[in-house]
């Protein structure tokens, strides 16, 4: 029996070398290049097939369009790594959008205050998800399924009969164009990545997701940490919601529907385990970019939304299949 170096398959997205930051970055890159290559390939296909696709504007708009869902998906990545699941982020998204809309359009609060309260709302709803799970010991799927339904009701009640539109110019800057959302997306991804790999709480996410009982017996405060991860999920959902409201310049309670599924799709396309303990945020971003490139590319080629749906469905399965296959092959 030869000595094994099978570790590479299992640590794909957990940087193992902590010695130097350059090493870590290189390591990260080595793990990501295949997904990046897939993204590049898909981009090239559309580049060849569709002349109007060949502009810088298009490239930027792909980033811009992907950024909002990618931010949401960063939160989902953290929650999934910790062995949790949050089906309610789409509804949190709706509530936060409506709340910020009300604060801006009805109470005319300063932008920074409205944004701050919006983020706080997301954090609070995330905390509620976490606390309910920890206190009641009801599985995440159920608690957040309840949240999915209930928060949507809350958003509707808050919005009913209100005209939430025409926000201050200052607020509109947040989500308009490609630059700001993209910048925020990369910022959020970087911070989330540092959080996961460099901090105590971030490392505990892998431990809890890997084996909750061992983590507990090792003295990790599992309950408290879990609540934090859901709060991060809520915070990211809120950030995404604020950007979308700013971008569209009006708020509606019907927003965010099924976003949780898109986020989960991007996360798993990126290679984070659905069952916790493994994963990283870098590939989540690429996962979202892959989905968005396909949507935009197909739209540029004049393909209707129904066929786009079929393509996205197929891509979700294919991407994970490719990952499964690659791991088996070693």
């Amino acid at each position: 029996m030869t000595t094994t170096n099978e570790n590479s398959s299992t640590s794909i997205t957990t940087p193992t070398a902590n010695s130097g930051n350059w090493d870590a970055l290189k390591h990260q890159f080595m793990q990501i290049w295949q997904v990046l290559a897939a993204l590049a390939l898909i981009y090239m296909v559309f580049f060849i097939l569709s002349p109007p696709f060949r502009s810088v504007d298009t490239l930027l708009s792909i980033f811009g369009q992907a950024s909002i869902l990618a931010i949401l998906a960063c939160g989902t990545t953290v929650v999934l790594i910790s062995g949790g699941l949050d089906l309610s982020v789409g509804s949190i998204f709706a509530v936060v959008g409506v709340v910020v809309g009300i604060l801006l359009a009805e109470y005319n609060l300063p932008v920074i205050v409205a944004v701050g309260l919006g983020l706080l709302t997301g954090v609070a709803l995330g905390a509620l998800n976490g606390i309910l799970q920890v206190v009641t010991r009801v599985p995440a799927f159920i608690v957040t399924l309840g949240g999915l339904t209930a928060y949507k009701g809350v958003a509707e009640i808050l919005a009913s009969g209100r005209d939430l539109s025409r926000f201050p110019d200052q607020f509109q800057l947040l989500g308009s164009g490609y630059a700001v959302p993209m910048f925020i997306m990369f910022g959020v991804a970087l911070l989330t990545g540092l959080f996961l790999t460099k901090t105590r709480l971030g490392n505990h996410a892998f431990a809890i997701g890997g084996n909750e009982e061992v983590a507990r017996l090792s003295g990790v405060n599992v309950a408290k940490s879990r609540i934090y991860y859901y709060m991060i999920g809520g915070l990211m959902a809120a950030t995404a919601a604020i950007l979308e409201v700013s971008k569209l310049n009006f708020a509606m309670p019907a927003r965010g529907q099924s976003y949780e599924l898109f986020a989960i799709a991007a996360v798993v396309i990126g290679g984070t385990s659905l069952f916790g303990g493994r994963g990283g945020v870098g590939k989540t971003i690429i996962g979202m970019l892959i989905m968005q490139t396909i949507i935009v590319g197909l739209a540029y080629m004049g393909v209707g939304t129904s066929i786009q749906r079929i393509a996205i469905g197929a891509i979700i399965i294919l991407a994970v299949y490719w990952d499964v296959w690659r791991r088996q092959a070693r």
């Binding site: 902590n18 901090t199 105590r200 892998f206 997701g209 009982e213 061992v214 990790v220 405060n221």
Partner: protein, 259 residues
């Protein structure tokens, strides 16, 4: 070597019970651990050994019972309390997280954070120091694992158990509690693990060890406590018993009250 003069009692567990509804997993068990000894706990499957240890270390909420450390009553309601009191435990089947590196596993729950603001505010970890401490420790304990960055699951059972035991030396200031440290280990790995257990004494620890291996009791332990059907049925000095007596005590063919 066992008890020089009057043996000092370091840990005393009094009247520990753990009931699951009508099921009395352990019922009014009292044991004590003397300074510097290795105390074996033996008994049939389901006798309540793991439950006893978990109740003592706060991993399970006990139905009743009191813990004394150095004669003073202490509250131990969670694994964190136990660790704070200087007890380090390796639980049966629950030693390592497969997905974490060796470094992260050893320091899990007690990570070293950086001394700068990043560490103080964000809990940024000081991997350099942790790695260095582990290398020192492994050298001291003669554990030959070079690649401490690899995930725990890629190591063999023996290596995994060695890592788990090393935690008791790293953090167990006074007491190490081990639940079947050699179960499912091969001959060689078992010996390695038991040598480690013996060296715990040299590092100043008192040890409680659950085992099904009578040879290990006779060769490595000072005293042995026997659990039967959730109750303490005997406590003996190892030098006063042989294998057959032990088996008799465990299976109940020798019937005695606790010494």
């Amino acid at each position: 070597m066992t008890s020089a003069g009057i043996p000092k009692i370091i840990l005393e567990a009094k009247g520990i019970s753990k009931h699951y509804g009508g099921v009395k997993a352990i019922d009014d068990v009292s044991i004590d651990l003397r300074e510097g000894e290795v105390l074996a706990i033996v008994g049939d499957n389901g006798a309540g050994k793991s439950t006893l240890v978990k109740a003592i270390t706060g991993a399970l909420a006990k139905t009743s019972g009191t813990i004394f450390l150095d004669g003073k009553e202490v509250r131990i309601d969670s694994p964190t309390d136990a660790k704070a009191a200087g007890m380090e435990t390796v639980y049966q089947d629950l030693a390592l997280v497969n997905e974490l590196s060796i470094t992260k596993n050893v320091f899990l729950g007690r990570e070293i954070v950086r001394k700068d603001i990043l560490g103080r505010i964000f809990g940024a970890l000081d991997f350099k120091t942790m790695d260095a401490e582990i290398r020192t420790l492994f050298e001291k304990l003669d554990i030959r694992i070079a690649d401490i960055y690899r995930d725990a699951q890629s190591f063999s059972g023996g290596q995994r158990q060695a890592v788990a035991l090393s935690k008791t030396v790293m953090f167990g200031k006074r007491i190490a509690i081990l639940d079947e440290p050699t179960a499912a280990l091969g001959v060689r790995e078992s010996k390695m693990a038991m040598d480690l257990v013996r060296s715990l004494k040299d590092h100043g620890l008192s040890v409680i060890m659950i085992t099904h291996n009578m040879q290990h009791v006779l060769n490595y332990c000072d005293r042995v406590a026997v659990l039967r059907l959730g109750q303490l049925s005997a406590v003996r000095d190892v030098k006063d018993v042989d294998g057959d007596t032990l088996v008799g005590l465990i299976t109940g063919t020798i019937d005695t009250k606790a010494a």
